[in-house]
């Protein structure tokens, strides 16, 4: 495929996907029973006039199609609307939640990448040995654990040593910036470890198979014939080639991890985007849900796109 052609195609796909996704989001949320207004209007002394007024205010009295265009128009202006539940701009609420989620997810992902790549290389380097089998089966074992259950087990084991939940110590008043960072890091350990453990098996296996594949290629055999040491072959040649699938996997997985962190956030009382979604469902907070979905879809599409471009950059075959 031609290079420019490829990039254009992927770009168009990304843009169209975003549009499709937000249309689907709108349909899903407006089709839902349970009126947000009936909840808001349930206050002592609330009149039916008030309820009608609220419905008008949130645009829920308009035809669905009109609501859709209003929604699109607002999005075009970067306006995600106002949360039914908190009356605050959705963008404000979401960014706050996302800001809390990203560091935790990042730490866990870094652990998964580091540990997974390491065990993967080890397994490939010592293929067929007990080390190989142990690396692969341990990775698969953690991969098989239900995330929330692993979190609860870690809580059971580490309670007392590490904080049992939350993002910061509620009892550390006026911390210095350094104290605050250390505090957050300490709270991040368990949720990040949970995420890292369930994720790293993937990296182990991907790295291992990519390594094995390159180790069988002609030029590696040539290098070997030239008398290069195994270690040198692994680090200099094989791993460099294995970087391609690993990098792409990282890009692709980043898009989904944020969405997948909801279970971990529930277990560890982490005030992030997953919990924001959970409570928006509970409150029938359509603008929040729509916003969160848009954000999550955008992140997936974005990282997919990044993966595509990375692939384009790293794999010379596409450019020809």
């Amino acid at each position: 495929m031609r290079g420019a052609d490829y990039v254009i195609k992927r770009t168009i796909f990304a843009v169209v996907t975003v549009f499709v996704a937000l249309t689907i989001n709108f349909i899903i949320f407006r089709a839902a029973p349970g009126s947000a207004v009936s909840n808001l209007a349930r206050v002592p002394g609330a009149t039916h006039a008030l309820r009608a007024e609220l419905e008008h205010e949130f645009g829920l009295d308009k035809p669905k199609l009109q609501q859709y265009f209003i929604y699109l128009g607002q999005l075009a202006h970067g306006n995600l609307g106002v949360s039914f539940a908190s009356q605050q701009p959705v963008s404000h609420e979401l960014l706050q939640a996302l800001g809390n989620t990203i560091p935790m997810v990042l730490l866990g992902t870094l652990f998964a990448i580091g540990f997974g790549t390491f065990t993967g290389i080890l397994a490939a380097y010592r293929r067929g040995t007990a080390v190989d089998k142990a690396s692969v089966s341990t990775g698969l074992f953690f991969y098989s654990l239900p995330t929330q259950w692993l979190g609860l087990m870690l809580l059971l084991i580490f309670a007392g040593t590490l904080p049992s939940g939350g993002r910061v110590d509620a009892f550390l008043f006026n911390p210095t910036p350094l104290q605050h960072i250390l505090d957050v890091l300490k709270h991040m350990l368990l949720p990040s470890l949970t995420l890292g453990l369930v994720l790293y098996g993937e990296y182990t296996l991907i790295t291992r198979s990519a390594m094995l594949e390159t180790l069988g290629e002609d030029y590696i055999l040539t290098a070997r014939a030239k008398g290069l040491s195994d270690r040198r072959i692994v680090t200099r040649h094989a791993f460099r080639n294995a970087m391609l699938p690993i990098t792409t996997l990282i890009a692709l997985s980043l898009g989904y991890i944020v969405a997948g962190s909801i279970l971990i956030e529930r277990v560890f009382s982490w005030p992030g985007i997953g919990q924001a979604v959970y409570y928006s469902v509970q409150n029938r907070d359509y603008p929040m849900l729509q916003g969160a979905f848009l954000l999550l879809t955008l992140s997936v599409v974005f990282f997919n796109y990044v993966a595509d471009l990375l692939y384009f950059k790293l794999d010379p075959r596409i450019r020809e």
Binding site: V43, Q87, F171, R284
Partner: protein, 554 residues
């Protein structure tokens, strides 16, 4: 602590005072008072908003009680006592009252705190009843409020009111700083709803909320300008957990000094720890089986005899024993026993008697089909029960109800939805003001009443159709009595009316009150001075706990 949202929306609106029984904490080890320190408090709920016109959760209202002055509060013996108002006098015709407020207080931004702020807040609510809806109900019957001088507030009512009723309503209205809120009256008052009231909040109570992270933490520091006694602590922090399990794990591992409520399953571990104390007291929260009392899908459910049979079949003691592990009382009336004089002690729980229950249904001619399920009006007595999924123990309760009713040939199936939707299905079918309650048969719900029975009684009035009324119960006699009790000046006479209303509900059974859950706050023995109540130590009844709580010298 249980999620508030269900009983939800209501708790916040509904609560009232409580018989604060007994004195301080359970774990008094005789140590002396040590000044200073930060109390670490855990909750499985959270402060959902810092704006009193937006917040739903009980924790938020508890926090407001420490952040803002209130005219009056409850003492440990359930009497109304002064807070910002040091004394008051009602007119002889009961159409108004004069409140003398404490002088010398300042808001945390340095501005003086006066009766003007109290008058401003009340008038603000009266002026914008829509945007201030969450508080507006408490200003019912008030005509106006006026500060005749910086230390005198005069409230006039539209008609003669019962004094204790009126004070119980005022106990729920936080007095807010005029200099802050007058900036947010725009848009016909709608801006009052969108104002975030971010931390640090301008506070006039004993504590200033200095840090707040949604679903995470809140930090409170002592307000030096507070008009009342100085707290022993430097401040307190609140940590919001997503589950009781996470909260209790933290507590048992020494990450917290006190928790709002211990789930019964972990009580043994807490009690087995010599460094921890549980302060158990009877609570205001009750679980009930609601029977649609308007147009249930199956008309036989309107028959009082069918409801009576249900009541006899349900093993309330088993619910108390299994779901609450004994830390509850068998339910009777919608006004809990801890409400003191307002609770009608003549109402007894239905005897658990399967034979009687079966006989009642036999008499109606509802014979059992081949599958053991009775047939009524040509269809099997098989009903769906709506349950809110955010009150975790309700699933277990349903299991017990199901097993009980199975024995009298009635089949129950569970439909679990989030509480918002359950309430919508019950009270607002099709999301329009209901002409009829015709979308469900049975439901399990949880309410927490206040010390004053006004709110919980109002839930069953016709006026509350589409709002708080979940059962569709509508009885004009009951409604008349409800109106009457708020404006019956004589306390004993009001009590008689309140009792009469409870008896009507006990007879008609729109609710079968299953149990009253005990409040189970706990703390470590390094702390003392907690003041308990049916709503726990941290509540919106009184400022007492955080003013008297202190570290114990070892």
């Amino acid at each position: 602590m249980r999620k508030i949202r269900i009983a939800g929306v209501l708790l916040s609106l509904a609560l009232v005072a409580a018989a604060c029984k007994g004195g301080g904490g359970g774990g008094n080890n005789g140590g002396g008072t040590v000044e200073g320190g930060i109390l670490r408090l855990g909750t499985a709920s959270s402060i959902d908003s810092l704006n009193p016109f937006k917040a739903f959760n009980q924790d938020a209202y508890n926090a407001f009680f420490y952040m803002y002055p209130f005219l009056v509060q409850f003492d440990q013996n359930l009497n109304i006592v002064g807070d910002f108002a040091k004394d008051w006098q009602f007119n002889s015709d009961h159409t108004g009252g004069t409140f003398h407020t404490v002088s010398g207080g300042t808001w945390s931004d340095g501005k003086p705190l006066t009766a003007n702020d109290a008058a401003y807040t009340i008038n603000l609510i009266l002026k914008y009843p829509g945007p201030t809806g969450l508080e507006a109900g408490y200003a019912k019957h008030i005509a106006s409020a006026e500060a005749t001088d910086p230390n005198t507030l005069v409230i006039s009512y539209e008609e003669p009111v019962n004094e204790s009723w009126a004070l119980a309503q005022l106990e729920l209205i936080p007095i807010m700083p005029q200099q802050v809120w007058s900036q947010h009256e725009g848009n016909g008052g709608k801006d009052l709803q969108t104002f975030r009231n971010d931390a640090p909040v301008v506070c006039g109570g004993p504590f200033i909320l200095t840090q707040y992270q949604k679903r995470d933490i809140a930090q409170f520091q002592v307000n030096k300008g507070f008009y009342g006694p100085k707290p022993h602590i430097d401040g307190f922090g609140m940590k919001f957990y997503t589950s009781e399990d996470a909260m209790m794990t933290a507590f048992l591992n020494g990450e917290l000094d006190a928790v709002e409520g211990v789930p019964p399953s972990t009580l043994a571990r807490v009690k087995g720890n010599p460094n921890m104390a549980v302060m158990e007291t009877q609570g205001m929260t009750f679980d009930e089986l609601i029977t649609n009392s308007n147009k249930p899908l199956h008309p036989e459910l309107l028959n009082p005899q069918v409801r009576e049979a249900f009541a006899h079949a349900i093993d309330q003691q088993q619910i108390v024993d299994v779901v609450q592990l004994g830390h509850a009382q068998v339910g009777t009336s919608i006004v809990a026993p801890v409400a003191g004089m307002w609770h009608d002690p003549n109402i007894k729980p239905a005897t658990h008697d399967m034979n009687l229950a079966n006989q009642l249904l036999d008499q109606l001619g509802y014979t059992r089909g081949s599958d053991g399920i009775r047939v009524a009006n040509g269809h099997p007595m098989s009903y769906q029960v709506l349950t809110p999924d955010d009150v975790t123990s309700i699933g277990r309760e349903f299991e017990i109800l199901k097993a009980s009713l199975q024995q009298i040939g009635v089949k129950l199936t569970q439909k679990s939805l989030d509480s918002t939707t359950v309430f919508d299905v019950m009270a607002a079918p099709d999301y329009v003001y209901p002409k009829d309650y015709d979308k469900y048969d049975l439901a399990i719900w949880q309410w927490t009443g206040y010390m004053d029975p006004d709110f919980i009684l109002s839930v069953l009035t016709c006026q509350q159709w589409g709002f708080w009324n979940d059962s569709g119960y509508c009885n004009t006699t009951y409604d008349k009595l409800y109106e009457q009790q708020g404006v019956t000046v004589d306390q004993q006479a009001r009590k008689q009316i309140v009792w009469q209303m409870q008896e009507m509900i006990a007879t008609d059974r729109p609710y079968i009150v299953l149990d009253y859950r005990n409040a189970l706050p706990a703390h470590t023995t390094q702390w003392d001075g907690f003041v308990n109540s049916p709503l726990g130590v941290f509540n919106n009844l009184s400022k007492a706990t955080m003013l008297s709580v202190h570290r114990v010298s070892s």
